[in-house]
Symmetry: C2
Subunit: 624 residues, 2 copies
C-alpha cells in the first residue's frame, strides 16, 4: 500500500478549490496527497475516481440535498440508479479476483453517494446473488447470469415478523410433494410473514426464501434456502399465492423498498431448493453431505459474516462523511473570541476538538480494520471455494465470525455516536437537511440492527473467547487462532501481573502504551467473565440464565474491549510499518494514539476498579 507515485498526479488528485479552508490546509504538517496515496494506493484511487466521475456526469445521479422527494419517487429513482450501476460495469470478475478490496470500495462509493443505493445493489448482488451462488449448485448457475444482467432482481428473505435474531424459530414451511416433484412454500400465519426484506417491497422478482424443509412422513430437516419467483418480471405483479408488499416509510434508507411476503401454498419446482447443504431426491428422500442439522445450519448462514463485514465498511463511510462535514464547518464557523472584536473558528476550542477529533481518528482506524477484515474474509471464502475442510479453515471461520460479530457493533455504534456528535457540533446548521448529517444518521441507524442486533451479536464474540478460555482451563489448550487475534491471551496470567509503568503524558502518545493497557484489560475481563459465569452456574442457574446474567456487566464489555484492542493493534501495526513515508509517520502515529487512548478512556472506571481490587486482593468493592 506504499505510494507508487511521488506526490500523485494532478488529474488523480487535483487541488481543492480555493476557499475559507485554505488557511487551515496551509498549516498541515503533511501532504494530504501523500496520505491519500498511502491510505488507498494509486490503483484504488483511480478506481474510485472512475466511479465518482461517472456519477457526477450522469444526470440520473443529480440531486438536490434536502429535497422533498416522495417515497415512491425516491424508490423508483433508486431502482433506476441501481440498474445504471450494472450498466456501468465498474468491476469485472477478473478485477474482483485480482483486487478483492475493490468490491467493498465500490459499495463504499455507492454508500458515499446514497446508502439506499449501496444497500439495493449490495442486496441484489452480494446477498441474493451470493446466496444463490454459494448455497446452490450447477443447476442454479443460469440465475447468476440473469442477476448480473438484472433480468431478474432479487432479495434475501430470512427474517419473519416475529423472529429475526432467533433464526431457529423461523416458521415458513416447504413440504415436498413427490407426486408433482414440487415444494409447497407456505406461511402458517401472519407472524411467519417474511418481513423487512430489502428489495422485496416494490422491485424484487425473485427471493431466496428460508423455510423449514419437510419430506413425506413429515420429517423436518430444518431451515433451507429456496429460490422462489415472487413477481412477474414484466408487470411486477405478484405471482399466484404470493402476497407481497412494501413496509412503508422507515427512519432512513427510504430509497430501499423493504417488504413483506406471505406464501399461500406456493408450488415451486424441486430444483428451486438451493441444494449445496442438502437435497431431496425426486422420490422425496433427503440427502446431505453434512451429518447433523447444526452443521448444515451453520453452513447455510455462513454468508452472514460477509454481510456483517459489508455493514462495518458502510458504517465507516457514514462516519467519514459526517466527520468531514463537521470539521470543515468547524474550521470556517467563527463564534466568540478572546476579545469582543476578534472571533475565532469553533475548531480552535478544546471542547470542539475533544468532541470531533477522536471520531476522525476512529474513522482511520476502523477504515483500516474494515479493509483488513475483508481480506481475511476473502481468504476464508477462497478456502471454502477450494473445498478446504481443514481444522485451520474451520478455526478461521470461527475467528472471523467473532471479529465480525463485534466489529459490526463497534463500527455502527461509533458511527452512530460520531454522527450525532457532528450534528450537534454543527449547531443549527447541522439540523438543516441539506447539510446531510440527518440523512447519515438515519441511514446508519439500521447498521446497529440488521444482520444481528448489536447487543445480541456481541454475545457471539464473548462466547468465542469464553470457549477458548474453558478449553485452556479444562484441556490445557493454547490460545491460538489463524489471524492471531487471540494469541496474546496465552500469556494472560503474566499479563495480569503487569503494572502500568508510564510516567508522563508524552509517553502515552504512542499507541503501544494503550495497546499494553488493552491487553491487560481484555485478560482481566475474560477472567472475570469466566469466573462470574461459573459462579452463576454453581449457584444453580441454567446455561441460558447464567449467560444472560453475565452479559450486561461482563460479556458485553469483554467483547467490545477485545474488538477495540484488535482494531488498535491492526492500525498500530499498519502505521508503524517500515514502508510508511517518513513525512506521514507523525500524523499517523497521532491518529493511532488518539483512537487508542480515547477508546481506552471509556473503560477508565473498570481499570480503576481492577487496580483497586489488585492492591487489596481480599477486598471487593464494599457494595458488591
Amino acid at each position: 500500500m506504499a505510494p507508487t507515485v511521488e506526490g500523485g498526479d494532478a488529474a488523480l488528485l487535483p487541488e481543492f478549490p480555493r476557499g475559507p479552508l485554505d488557511a487551515y490546509r496551509a498549516r498541515a504538517s503533511f501532504s494530504w496527497k501523500e496520505l491519500a496515496l498511502f491510505t488507498e494506493g494509486e490503483d484504488m484511487l483511480r478506481f474510485k475516481k472512475t466511479i465518482f466521475s461517472a456519477l457526477e456526469n450522469d444526470p440520473l445521479f443529480a440531486r438536490s440535498p434536502g429535497a422533498d422527494l416522495s417515497l415512491d419517487k425516491y424508490r423508483e429513482l433508486n431502482f433506476l440508479r441501481c440498474k445504471r450501476i450494472f450498466e456501468y460495469d465498474f468491476l469485472s470478475v477478473e478485477d474482483m479476483f485480482k483486487s478483492p478490496l475493490k468490491v467493498p470500495a465500490l459499495i463504499q462509493c455507492l454508500g458515499m453517494y446514497d446508502s439506499s443505493l449501496a444497500a439495493k445493489y449490495l442486496l441484489h448482488t452480494l446477498v441474493f446473488g451470493s446466496a444463490v451462488y454459494s448455497s446452490g449448485s450447477e443447476r442454479h448457475l443460469t440465475y447468476i447470469q440473469k442477476i448480473f444482467s438484472m433480468e431478474i432482481f432479487g432479495c434475501f428473505a430470512l427474517t419473519e415478523l416475529s423472529h429475526g435474531s432467533n433464526t431457529k424459530a423461523i416458521r415458513t414451511t416447504a413440504h415436498y410433494d413427490p407426486a408433482t416433484k414440487e415444494f409447497i412454500i407456505h406461511s402458517p400465519d401472519f407472524e411467519a410473514a417474511k418481513f423487512w426484506v430489502g428489495n422485496m417491497g416494490k422491485t424484487a422478482t425473485h427471493a431466496v426464501v428460508f423455510a423449514k424443509l419437510h419430506v413425506p412422513g413429515d420429517q423436518c430437516h430444518g431451515l433451507h434456502p429456496f429460490i422462489v419467483q415472487i413477481r412477474d418480471p414484466k408487470t411486477l405483479l405478484p405471482m399466484p399465492g404470493v402476497m407481497v408488499g412494501d413496509m412503508g416509510k422507515k427512519l432512513g434508507q427510504n430509497g430501499l423498498d423493504n417488504g413483506f411476503a406471505m406464501f399461500h401454498k406456493v408450488r415451486v419446482p424441486r430444483q428451486s431448493l438451493l441444494n449445496r447443504m442438502g437435497d431431496v431426491t425426486p422420490e422425496g428422500t433427503y440427502v446431505s453431505p453434512f451429518k447433523d442439522v447444526r452443521q448444515r445450519f451453520g453452513v447455510s448462514l455462513g454468508g452472514l459474516s460477509s454481510g456483517r463485514v459489508s455493514i462495518l465498511s458502510l458504517a465507516v463511510v457514514n462516519l467519514k462523511l459526517a466527520i468531514a462535514i463537521a470539521l470543515r464547518f468547524s474550521a470556517t464557523r467563527c463564534q466568540f473570541g478572546p476579545t469582543q472584536e476578534e472571533e475565532i473558528a469553533v475548531l480552535e476550542y478544546p471542547m470542539q476538538q475533544c468532541r470531533l477529533l477522536p471520531y476522525l481518528a476512529a474513522a482511520y482506524a476502523l477504515d483500516h480494520f474494515s479493509k483488513s477484515l475483508f481480506l481475511d474474509l476473502v481468504e476464508l471464502q477462497r478456502g471454502r471455494a477450494s473445498g478446504d475442510r481443514s481444522a485451520r479453515q474451520a478455526e478461521l471461520g470461527r475467528e472471523i465470525h467473532a471479529l465480525a460479530s463485534a466489529g459490526k457493533p463497534l463500527a455502527s455504534w461509533t458511527a452512530q455516536q460520531g454522527i450525532q456528535e457532528c450534528r450537534e457540533a454543527c449547531g443549527g446548521h447541522g439540523y438543516l437537511a441539506m447539510n446531510r448529517l440527518g440523512v447519515l444518521r438515519d441511514d446508519n441507524d439500521p447498521n446497529c440492527t440488521y444482520e444481528g442486533d448489536n447487543n445480541v451479536l456481541l454475545q457471539q464474540t464473548s462466547n468465542y473467547l469464553l470457549g477458548l478460555l474453558a478449553h485452556r482451563v479444562q484441556d490445557g489448550a493454547c490460545f491460538r487462532s489463524p489471524l492471531k487475534s487471540v494469541d496474546f491471551l496465552d500469556a494472560y496470567p503474566s499479563i495480569l501481573d503487569q503494572k502500568f509503568e508510564v510516567s508522563s503524558v508524552a509517553d502515552c502518545l504512542d499507541s503501544a502504551v494503550a495497546l499494553a493497557a488493552y491487553k491487560w484489560l481484555v485478560c482481566y475481563l475474560l477472567r472475570e467473565t469466566y469466573q462470574k459465569l461459573n459462579q452463576e452456574k454453581r449457584s444453580g442457574s441454567s446455561d441460558f440464565e447464567a449467560r444472560n446474567n453475565c452479559q450486561v456487566s461482563h460479556g458485553r464489555p469483554l467483547a467490545l474491549a477485545f474488538l477495540e484492542l484488535t482494531v488498535v493493534q491492526r492500525f498500530h501495526e499498519h502505521v508503524h510499518q517500515p514502508c510508511v513515508p517518513p513525512s506521514l509517520r507523525a500524523v499517523l502515529g497521532r491518529l493511532s494514539a488518539l483512537y487508542a487512548l480515547w477508546s481506552l478512556s471509556r473503560h477508565a472506571a473498570l481499570l480503576y476498579r481492577a487496580e483497586r481490587r489488585r492492591s487489596c486482593p481480599g477486598r471487593r468493592d464494599r457494595a458488591s
Copy 2:
C-alpha cells in the same frame, strides 16, 4: 399533589383495553391509577383529558403515522392545527394564574401529539407574545389581544446566519430618524440575515427583531427588540424591503416553518421599539431606567430562561413517549428462551432491562424536576411583574438561570440517548416510521441546540458555581441561594472529608445514598475546577483561554453533576413526602434510587480517581 379521589373515577382513568400487556399489568405491585393521581393530581388529569379528547375527536388532528406528507402540506396542516388550538381556548388567563403548571401541561399535551405543533404554538404565544408583553409597554398592549385572536402571527428573530450563541455579535441595525420619527431596520449583509426563526418561513406576519439601536450622532446603545411587520396578514406577501423565506427541510419538526429574513432599510414607527428597557424620545434622545448596557442586555434576554424550561419539559415528553413505546414492545416481543420451544419476552432479559428501565426512572425524575423548576420560574416572573428589585430576586434569577442552563442539556441529552436506546431496543420494528421512535428522535434533536447549544450553556452553570466559590474564598461569603440548591456547598470542606460507608447493595437502594455520593462529587469537582482555573491563570492564560482549557475536563462534568444532584435531590424529597400513599412508596423509592445510581455510575471513573488521590494525597495519576 396527594390524590384527591380514592382510586380515581372510571371516566377520568378508564381501564386499558385488554391485550397482550395484561399479564404484565396484572403483576404490578401498585395501582397505576393511584400513581397517575399522585403524579399529576386530579385537576391536571382532567385538564389533560379535555385536551386529548378534543384532539381525538377533531378530524383536523387525524393522522396516519409514517405517512408520506409533503413539506408544504405538513406546514399548512400544522398552522391550521395551531389556529384550532386557539379556538379551543383550553386555558383561560384566570386558570393560568391559578394553576400555572397548566401552561407547560398544555404545551406538553401538544408535544405528545406533535412537536411541531407544540413549537409553533409556543413560539407564537410564549416566545413572541411574552417578548412583546415583557419587553414592551402599555402602547404595545394592542398587540397582545391580536396575538391571542391570531389576527397577527408572530416570531422571535434574534439569531443570525453567522451568530447564534454569541448574541453580542449580532449585527442587524436600527437607526433612528428624527425627521420622520421612524427607525430604519437594516441587515448590513447576508451573514446578518435573521436565521432559523421558527414561524418565520411561511406564516408569521410580525417579528420581534433584535437590532443594534443607533440614535443621531451614531451612538450605539446595543441590542434592542423591535416589533416589525414582515408580511401582509391578508395575502402573506412580504412587506416592502423585507426579504423573507423558508429554510427548507430539517431533520425533524418539519411542521414548523423556520425562516430567514433580510431587511433593506425598512422603516417602522418609533413606537415599534419594545421600550421597557430603553426608549428613544421623538427628538432622538436615548433614555433608559437601566444604567449600563450589560444590565439592559440581561433584562432583554431574561426571557430565555423560560424558553429553556419549556424545552426541558418538551424533552421529557419525548422521553416519556419513547420509553412507553419501547417497554410495551419489549413486554410483548418474544425471542429465544431457556429451551428451543419456550420463548420469553425480551423485557425479561437483564440486557433489555438495563437498557430501558433507567430511562423510565429518568422520565419520572426529570418530569418532576421540570415541573418544580417551572414553579420556581413563576415565582421569579411574579417578582418581576410586581417590580421586585430586591437582592433575593436578583439571586433567584441567577440561580434559575444556572439550573435552566444545565437542565436543558441534561434533559435533552437524556431524551436523545434514551430515544436512541429505545429505537435500537425495538430492533427492526423500531426503524419503521409508523412506530414513531424516529420522529421522536428527530423532533427532540434541536432541543440540544436551540436557546443555547448544550455545551455552551453548561458553562453558564459552571461559571455560576465557580463565582460562588470565588466569593466564598475571597470574601468569606456563604453559599446561599433562594432555592437552596447550592446551600450544601457551604460545608464542602467537611463533605470532602466524608467517606462512603455503605456495606451492602441493599443499602444503596435508597436514593439518599447516591445523594450523599453526589454531594461529595460536586464538592470535589468544584474544588478541582477552581484550582485548575486558577492554575491556568497563574501560568499566563487569559480568562477566556483559562475557561476554555478547563471546560472539557472540569467545567462540563461539574455542571452536569450539579444538575443531576439537584434533580435527584428534588425527586428524592418528592417521593419521601409524608403525603405519598403507602402503596406507592416502594415503587417510587425504587425509581428514585435507580435514577440516582444510574446517573452516578456514569461518574464512576471520577469517583475512583478521586478516592485514589485521597488515599495518596501526594500522588497524582502518573500520567498527569
